[in-house]
């Protein structure tokens, strides 16, 4: 018979001080998932300006890209996407039973790699905004 770990009620966020690495990974995956699905709807709405006219699309994208806050939000979006991708790979590995004993370490690795990629991307994202 398979054994499973009793994680308690993770939906009770008041217990956050007791959360282990796997629980934080679960919460971060949900949070980044909500952000990404919200962004997907926004993204299609912005790109839909192409159905109005060619000039409207180009002007909309270029005026959004001229705003510093949009560039900051793009770095945020990249961070959220990178974490969701890396932790998603970790979850697929867990589902396949690969590296179960290192699932906490792979969560920390995903966090560190996300931070490094986000910081390294800043020069590309802010290029030309000033």
């Amino acid at each position: 018979m398979s054994q499973s770990y009793n994680r308690g009620l993770i939906e009770d966020f008041g217990r956050w001080r007791e959360f282990t690495a796997g629980m934080w990974a679960w919460i971060f995956h949900k949070f980044t998932g909500w952000v990404l699905v919200g962004y997907l709807f926004t993204h299609i709405a912005v790109l839909s300006t192409a159905t109005i006219g060619t000039g409207v699309y180009t002007e909309t994208l270029q005026s959004l890209e001229s705003l510093f806050i949009v560039r900051v939000l793009e770095v945020g979006l990249l961070s959220v996407a990178v974490f969701h991708i890396l932790n998603g790979v970790r979850l697929l590995m867990v589902d396949l039973g690969v590296g179960l004993e290192a699932q906490d370490k792979s969560f920390y690795a995903a966090l560190i790699l996300t931070g490094v990629i986000a910081i390294a991307s800043v020069p590309t994202f802010v290029e030309g905004v000033f």
Partner: protein, 122 residues
């Protein structure tokens, strides 16, 4: 024996599809970000550039598949998160159908946009 925590039904199609789309999206989302932020900078994107990319059948079909899989994966994820939080009964059914309709609208609008770039009109 420990309780079962997943909101998915054991052996269900949705469970499998969530993972199959995840494996696809890991690659395509990384490609999408890399192409449109690092190869082509977002600030330099114009209708002509998007039209050029979408004019290729392989890119157009990849983006439409990306839209459909991302919508399914995202909306199914939201539904499961809500079920995990205790959504049940009539509310669960109502939320399910709102999400199904929202997904259908998003996919239709996304394909209309892709067609505008590719010069496809009906």
């Amino acid at each position: 024996m420990a309780e079962r925590y997943s909101s998915f039904k054991p052996g269900g199609t949705l469970w499998l599809l969530q993972r199959v789309t995840a494996a696809f999206l890991v690659i395509v989302l990384a490609f999408h970000f890399f192409l449109l932020h690092f190869v082509n900078h977002a600030s330099e994107i114009t209708f002509a550039g998007s039209q050029y990319r979408m004019g290729t059948l392989s890119y157009y079909s990849l983006m439409v598949t990306f839209l459909v899989t991302a919508t399914f994966h995202g909306v199914n994820g939201v539904y499961n998160a809500l079920v995990n939080q205790g959504l049940d009964g009539t509310q669960k059914t109502a939320v399910k159908w709102v999400l199904v309709v929202a997904s259908a609208l998003l996919i239709v609008q996304g394909i209309r946009t892709a067609n505008a770039f590719a010069g496809i009109s009906f």
